[in-house]
C-alpha cells in the first residue's frame, strides 16, 4: 500500500453567511406576523405560535395546555378529525402540533403552490376548533397509554424522575408537562374550552411564514387567512418553579434486572434570559455538549462505560435543569457517577485550555448556518426569538458573541452556575447491583423508589 503522506490541507476562505432576513409586523386584530423569504426550493413552512404552554396550566389541571393544543388537530366545527387530516394531506401538507413548557405551536410545511389553501385550513384550525367530546376522551386515553409506556421506557422514566425529584413538589416542573394520568383523566370539555378562549387570541399568537414567497406575499397571505380574528386574552398565569432542598443526594428508581443504568446528574439551572447565556453555551460545549467534550471522552473513549454521554442546560423561561445524561452498564454505575462528579468539580478549579476554548467556539460558529438549512428549521428558530423575547439582531450577532467568550468568562460562569455540592444523582437501574457501590461513593443520602411511584394514582 502506498504511504505517501500528504500534509493536512488548510481551510480556504470562508464564504459569508447571513441568517435569512425577516420582518415582523402587527396586522389588524393584534396578530404578530413574521415573514422570512427563503427562495431555494418551492416550499413554505408556517408556525402558528401561541403563548399557551404547560406553564399556563391552572393548578390541579396539569396537562390542560398540551391537551388543548392536541385537540386543535382533531377537527374544526366544519370538519371532523379525519376530514381535516385528509384536507391537509391531499395538499401534501404536513401539519403537527407541539406544546412544551413555554408555548404551543402548529407547524405546517407545504409546497408553494398549495400554501394558500393550506393556510386557510390552518386558520380554520386555530380560529374555529371543533373540540368534540369523543376526541377528547380518546386523547385522554392516549395520554394514559403514554404514561403506561413510560414506566417500561428507562430513558423517559429517567428524564421525568429527574425533574420530579429535582424540583420542590409545589413547582410545576416537578410534574410532567403533559400531565399525569390522574390529572388528565380529570380534565373536562369546559376546561379545554376555557383554556382555549383565554389563551388562543391574536395578542398571544405569532404567525411565522418562511419560504418561497416575499414579505408582501407572506403578509397578504396572513391577512387573508387570519385577518379579522378577534378575542381578548384572559389573565396570564405563571406556575411557580422552585428547587427541592439543594443538597447533594442519590435517588435510585428501581428497574429490576436492568442491564444498564440510565443516569441523570445535575441541578437547577438558569432561565434562558440570563445574561451569562453565551458563556454558559461555550462552557457546556466543553464540559459535555460536544462529542469531544470532557465528559463524553471520559465515559466513552477513555473508559468504554457508555455509548455516549452529554450535558445540557434546558433553556426555558423559568429555571430549567442543568443535567448530564448517559446510560452505563449496571456494574459501572458508581464508577461513571464518580467520573461525572469529578469532571464537574474540576471545571470550577482551573480555566479550560486555549485548545478547548477554540474548539468549542469555532464549532459553534461553524455549525450556525448548518442549523438553518431548511424552512422548518428557520421557522423553529424564529419561535425561540418570540418565546424568549430575544433581540431582533440575535441571529446576526450570535457568532460574534460566541467568539467573544474567553476562558476567564467560562471559569467565572462555571463557578457561578455549576453546583457540585447540590447535585441530584438519579439512576434508573437495578438496586441490587447499583445501590451498595453508589453508597460507597458517600455522595449524600441515598433513596430507592419503585418505578410505579413516578406515576401515582394510575
Amino acid at each position: 500500500m502506498s504511504t505517501t503522506h500528504i500534509a493536512r490541507p488548510a481551510a480556504g476562505l470562508p464564504r459569508p453567511y447571513h441568517f435569512p432576513e425577516f420582518l415582523r409586523r402587527r396586522i389588524a386584530g393584534g396578530l404578530d406576523v413574521i415573514t422570512a423569504p427563503v427562495r431555494k426550493l418551492p416550499l413554505v413552512s408556517v408556525v402558528a405560535l401561541v403563548d399557551a404552554g404547560a406553564m399556563r396550566d391552572p393548578a390541579g389541571r396539569e396537562g390542560l395546555a398540551v391537551l388543548t393544543a392536541k385537540m386543535l388537530l382533531e377537527g374544526t366545527r366544519e370538519r371532523d378529525g379525519a376530514a381535516l387530516a385528509d384536507a391537509f394531506e391531499r395538499l401534501g401538507a404536513t401539519v403537527d402540533v407541539s406544546a412544551g413548557w413555554d408555548a404551543a405551536a402548529l407547524h405546517l410545511t407545504v409546497l408553494r403552490g398549495n400554501a394558500d389553501a393550506a393556510m386557510r385550513l390552518l386558520s380554520e384550525v386555530v380560529r374555529d376548533p371543533g373540540f368534540r367530546e369523543r376526541d377528547l376522551a380518546r386523547l385522554k386515553a392516549e395520554r394514559v397509554a403514554q404514561r403506561m409506556q413510560m414506566r417500561t421506557e428507562p430513558r423517559e422514566l429517567a428524564d421525568e424522575s429527574f425533574e420530579r425529584f429535582l424540583y420542590d413538589s409545589t413547582s410545576r416542573y416537578a410534574r410532567p408537562d403533559a400531565g399525569s394520568a390522574r390529572t388528565v383523566n380529570a380534565l373536562t370539555h369546559d376546561d379545554v374550552l376555557n383554556f382555549y378562549h383565554a389563551h388562543y387570541v391574536p395578542a398571544r399568537t405569532t404567525l411565522i411564514i418562511v419560504g418561497d414567497l416575499d414579505h408582501e406575499a407572506g403578509a397578504t397571505m396572513a391577512e387573508e387567512t387570519f385577518g379579522g380574528w378577534a378575542g381578548s386574552p384572559g389573565a396570564p398565569s405563571a406556575a411557580p418553579t422552585r428547587a427541592a432542598a439543594p443538597e447533594r443526594r442519590v435517588q435510585i428508581v428501581a428497574k429490576t434486572d436492568a442491564p444498564q443504568s440510565e443516569l441523570r446528574i445535575g441541578h437547577v439551572g438558569v432561565p434562558r434570559s440570563h445574561p451569562d447565556h453565551f458563556p454558559l453555551v461555550v462552557m457546556n460545549a466543553v464540559l459535555g455538549g460536544l462529542f469531544t467534550s470532557r465528559i463524553n471522552l471520559n465515559l466513552r473513549e477513555r473508559h468504554g462505560y457508555a455509548y455516549g454521554a452529554r450535558s445540557a442546560f434546558e433553556w426555558r423561561r423559568g429555571m430549567g435543569p442543568f443535567v448530564v445524561s448517559t446510560a452505563v452498564e449496571s456494574g459501572v454505575t458508581a464508577d461513571a457517577t464518580r467520573e461525572v462528579v469529578a469532571e464537574i468539580e474540576a471545571f470550577r478549579k482551573a480555566p479550560i485550555t486555549d485548545e478547548e476554548l477554540s474548539l468549542a467556539t469555532s464549532y459553534l460558529e461553524g455549525i450556525f448556518p448548518i442549523r438553518y438549512e431548511t424552512t422548518a428549521a428557520i421557522a423553529s428558530a424564529l419561535t425561540a426569538l418570540v418565546t424568549y423575547d430575544l433581540p431582533a439582531d440575535y441571529f446576526d450577532t450570535y457568532r460574534r458573541k460566541i467568539a467573544a467568550v474567553s476562558s476567564g468568562d467560562v471559569l467565572r460562569v462555571a463557578n457561578e452556575h455549576l453546583h457540585p455540592e447540590q447535585l441530584l444523582i438519579l439512576a434508573v437501574g437495578d438496586p441490587a447491583v447499583i445501590e451498595a457501590p453508589l453508597a460507597r461513593l458517600k455522595l449524600g443520602t441515598i433513596a430507592v423508589a419503585p418505578a410505579e411511584e413516578i406515576e401515582p394514582g394510575t
Binding site: R8, R151, Q260, T292, I370
Partner: protein, 437 residues
Amino acid sequence: MQIPIETFRLDNGLLVTISEDHTAPIVGVNLWYHVGSANERPGRTGFAHLFEHMLFQGSADVASNEHFELIQRAGGTLNGSTWLDRTNYYEVIPSNQTELVLWLEANRMGHLLPAMTQEKLDTQRDVVKNERRWSVDNQPYGTWWERLPALCFPDGHPFHHSLIGSMEDLSQASLDDIATFFRTYYTPDNAVLSIAGDVDPSEVRAWVAQYFGPIPRGREMPNRPPMNVAPLFGSWLREVVPDDVALPRLFLAFRSPVFGSDGYYAASVCGAVLGLRSGSRLYRRLVREREVAAEAAAFTYDLPEGSDLLVLDVTARPGVSGEALHEAVAGEVDAVLAEGVTEAEVSRAAALIETELVTALQSAGDRADRLSMFATYFGKPELLNQQLVRYQQITASDVNAFIRERLGENNRASLLYIPRPDGERVEEMGETEAAAS
C-alpha cells in the same frame, strides 16, 4: 425538481458524484461502502458495525479522537451508520473546509491499519456493547430490530442475523478480523463518494484525484452472498414475544418488490396509503374510529436485493389484548385486499411523498446521502432526479395489483409483543382501562 449531478470514476474504481448548490456556504460529504451486516461471516455478527466504530479511532496521519476533533473544530458535524447492506460516513461542514474532509476520508480509506490497536478495539467493543444494551436490551420492544429480519429471512440468509450482533460474537472480534475486513471491503472500488453543496466541481475533482487517486483497488474477493428469496413467505409466519412492555405492539410484514423496481414504488405508495400520517387508513380506522390502537404507521426497509419488506407497525390502546390487536390489523389488511384502494387515497399518499422528497433536498447532507445511495445500489446517482416522476406515475390500479399479489395470507409475518404475563403489569392494564373509560 431537478438538482445538478455530475459523476466520474477514478482509475482505482472510486465512483464520485458532485451536486453544486451555492445557496448557503455548506457542503455535505457522504461516503458509502458497499458492505453491511450481510457480509459478516458466521460467528462474527455485529462486526460491520463494530468496524464502523473503529473508523473513528484515527488513521496513519490522524491520532485517536482527532478525526472528531478536526471536524468539530472546522465547525462541522459528522457520524457514520451501518445497515444490512451498506455502511456510510458523513460530514456536513462550512464549504471552506471541504478539502480537509476529503483528506480525512482518504486517509482512513488508504491508511487505517497503522492506527489500529488492541486497546482501541477493546474500548470500542465495550462502547458497542453499551449501544446494544441502550438500543435493544434495555428498551421496550428493542429486540424488534433483530427479531423481524430473523423472522422474515430464512436461517442462513444474509439479512437473517442481528446487525448489532450478539455479545458473544462481539467478544470474539480480533485485530486480524479488522485487517481482513478492511482489505476486503474498504476499497475505492467498493465505495461511492458524494459531495453536495457550495463547491467548485473542478476544484473538487482535483482534490479527489490527489487524495483518493493513490489508493489501490481491492485485491481480496468480497463475500457477496446470494440474496435471493421467494417473493412470498408461502405461509403466515407468526411469533409472539412476551416482554417487559406495557402495551401490545404488532409488526406485520410482507415481502415486497426490491427497492428501485417498478413494484417498489407501488409498495411504497401502498405503505403510505395504509400508514403515513393521521389521514392514513390504519390511523383513521384503528386509532380514530375503532379506538383499538394508540399509534399506527407503515414503512419499507428499502432493500435493493433479495426482497424488500413492507411493514405495518401498530401499538394497542390500554385494555386491548395482543390477540384483539392482531385481529383488528389483519382485518384491515383483509379489507384492503378485498376492496382495494381508491384514486383519492393514492393521490393523498403521492402528495405527501412529493412534499417529503422536496423537503429532503433542502439539506446538503441529505442530497449527498441520496446520491450515494443511488450510485451504490444502481451505479446511477441521477436516479435521484427521477424519484418524483416514478411516484407520480403510480396509479390506484398499480397499488391494487401489488396488494393482490403481496398482501394475502400466504405472505404475512406477524411479530407480536405482549406484556409479559407475570401478573403485575397485566393487572395494572385492566385498572387503567377502567379508569380511562
